[in-house]
């Protein structure tokens, strides 16, 4: 498509319609092969999870009694079967639905809470700000996994609780990031201008401040999903995930595989590999977005 563009001469640039930021960003994203790989992996994973029923004819939950007990990978079962005679390939495909759903919903929950609290504390400041930032400090005084384990144990194992747990672990750092952005944007001239023409607080926060701080959040959120996939896998691995046998997440499959490590290493291998690939995909995509948006989110 477009050739590599260099800045046109000043006189000419007045005539050229300025490119939209999003178009520019996509073009920069395409230039890095690793980012493209990230897009492909993430997109591919989503499609596979979405179309899982079309990609496999085996039921991920009901095993085949006649082939019960583990079978090594073969033409019939490319990834082998597990201890209940269930096809591991189809469990991995269906498991993607659960693992990705939990990761994305949890990240969305954490981002929403953090965004809201960050916007309000950053904009209003005062006692409210002080109080909430102390709570953020306390949350951040705990290693994430430890607090997630305590929360998950307290709430009890279920998919919803897992999402709530992970969301509650994510929000404090998001709130801190958003707050710092709001603090710098709050004093800008366009915010002052909006205020002088009588725009109300809600309008200023959501129409004027929010769009200007979204960029780092996109990167943060993408990298965050990679992290949540790992956290979810860790919690499920420890038996704190969903207890629903019919809905195996990848971490859960890894946990189930432990007794059979010697007899059926493929039970551990394939879920492990898809976790690694999807985490890698979100990390590459996040790094690529960061370069493409030309920011340094930390």
């Amino acid at each position: 498509m477009a050739k590599v563009m260099t800045a046109p001469p000043a006189t000419l640039s007045l005539l050229v319609k300025p490119e939209r930021e999003s178009v520019k960003m996509l073009r920069r994203l395409r230039r890095s092969p690793l980012s493209v790989l990230g897009v492909l992996i993430v997109g591919g994973m989503m499609l596979i999870a979405l179309f899982a029923p079309l990609l496999t004819s085996y039921d991920p939950v009901k095993g085949n009694i006649s082939t019960s007990y583990v079978k090594a990978p073969s033409n019939v079962h490319p990834f082998g079967t597990d201890d209940a005679g269930r096809d591991i390939l189809s469990r991995v495909l269906y498991g993607g639905r659960i693992s990705l759903r939990i990761a994305i919903l949890a990240e969305a929950l954490g981002l929403s809470i953090g965004l809201l609290i960050g916007l309000l504390t950053g904009y209003y400041g005062g006692l409210f700000d002080t109080l909430l930032m102390r709570i953020v400090d306390i949350f951040m005084a705990f290693p994430l996994l430890i607090i997630a384990i305590a929360l998950a144990a307290a709430l009890g194992p279920s998919e919803t609780n897992l999402i709530i747990t992970l969301g509650l672990v994510i929000w404090p750092s998001v709130a801190r990031l958003v707050r710092s952005q709001v603090l710098s944007v709050r004093e800008s001239e366009y915010v002052a201008a909006a205020r002088t023409i009588g725009v109300r607080d809600a309008g200023i926060i959501f129409r004027h401040i929010l769009p200007n701080i979204l960029t780092p959040l996109v990167v943060y959120g993408t990298l965050g999903v990679a992290n949540v996939i790992l956290q979810e896998a860790a919690l499920s691995f420890l038996g704190l995930g969903s207890p629903d046998r019919s809905a195996p997440s990848w971490g859960r499959m890894l946990n189930d595989s432990r007794e059979f490590l010697l007899a059926a290493p493929w039970m551990a291998f394939y879920p492990g590999v898809v976790i690694v690939i999807s985490v890698l995909g979100f990390n590459l995509l996040g790094d690529g977005l960061q370069d493409a948006l030309n920011i340094r989110a930390n």
Partner: protein
């Protein structure tokens, strides 16, 4: 300098207070109360009431909180529901194993990560640089438990070089320590490379070279000094990763440390033990972060005089 240390130590007080409070709150949002778990399915209201009063669960929540804080502040974290042993003793017995594992992993991470990062920065795009990229990529993508299981498959079951699990400060320690160190090693390699590259572009480095100093002198005497601060910060922050990772590693390698104890507490619903462990983990983390801060003025004299 003394003022800086004093301020930093004082800042620890609200953190510790917060840790205790959050741990207390966490354990109170549990469905049902601890006594009902102990009495279990026997459904004996008499026994439940006796137990509740012996555990002070019938008192107002605020009184419980004050009593909990008072006890916790002088190290009494209650007794395990299961074994009736003091929680602090149980944690004390598991503590050394976790420390040994974490120290071994940290030593590996620093001992390999920093030199590799330096070589990668000095010989950009060389084979070493590519190796550092590969390690960084693997380190952020492979979950620590996945790596642990893979290593068990390869080195214990296939090659039979190393024992698959168990406690021992000999070759039992190799796999858990390596698996635990990888994420931190990757991070340190990446940070060392990035910060060193940044420093190498600075004017003072060019000045040092133009004075006729040899490369070794320029790097060791000038550049490395200036990357110490970010490196110590990253190493300190990775303690959280190490603690979380050790939890999973201890489960996989059957290593009787605090992480394994934590998982055991979750599985047996031993909530006093869980509460105590959460507190101890958070205190260790907070303590290490404070130590890192206390190191800053030593590494960079500009800090602490402001």
């Amino acid at each position: 300098m003394l003022r800086y240390i004093a301020i930093r130590l004082l800042q620890l007080i609200p953190t510790v207070f917060g840790i205790y409070t959050l741990a207390f709150v966490l354990m109170r949002v549990l469905p049902g109360d601890p006594a009902s778990f102990l009495v279990g399915a026997r459904d004996d209201p008499q026994a439940l009431a006796t137990l509740r009063s012996s555990m002070h669960l019938d008192e107002p929540i605020f009184n419980q909180y004050v009593a909990f804080l008072g006890n916790a502040l002088h190290g009494d974290l209650g007794r395990s529901y299961l074994t009736r042993q003091p929680v602090i003793i149980m944690i004390g017995q598991a503590f050394p194993q976790t420390v040994v594992l974490a120290l071994a992993a940290m030593t590996l991470a620093v001992g390999i990560g920093v030199p590799l990062g330096i070589i990668a920065a000095l010989r950009k795009n060389s084979a070493w640089d590519n190796l550092s990229r590969l390690i960084a990529l693997i380190g952020v993508s492979i979950p620590v438990f996945g790596l642990g299981i893979l290593m068990q498959l390869l080195f214990s079951l296939k090659l039979k070089w190393l024992p698959i699990s168990g406690l021992g400060f000999d070759k039992h320690l190799i796999m858990p320590a390596v698996a635990l160190s990888l994420a931190t090693l990757a991070l340190l390699t990446r940070m060392t490379r990035a910060t060193l590259l940044e420093q190498l572009g600075q004017d003072y480095i060019r000045t040092a070279y133009s004075k006729g100093l040899r490369e070794r002198m320029v790097i060791v005497r000038h550049a490395l000094r200036n990357i110490l601060l970010p490196l110590v910060t990253v190493a300190g922050n990775s303690t959280a990763n190490l603690l979380s990772g050790s939890l999973l590693i201890e489960v996989i390698f059957n290593w009787p440390g605090m992480g394994k104890l934590l998982v055991q507490a979750v599985n047996t619903r031993d909530y006093t033990l869980l509460q105590g462990l959460v507190i101890v983990f958070a205190l260790i983390y907070a303590g290490i972060n404070m130590l890192v801060d206390l190191f800053y003025p030593l590494l960079d004299p500009r800090i602490g005089h402001g």
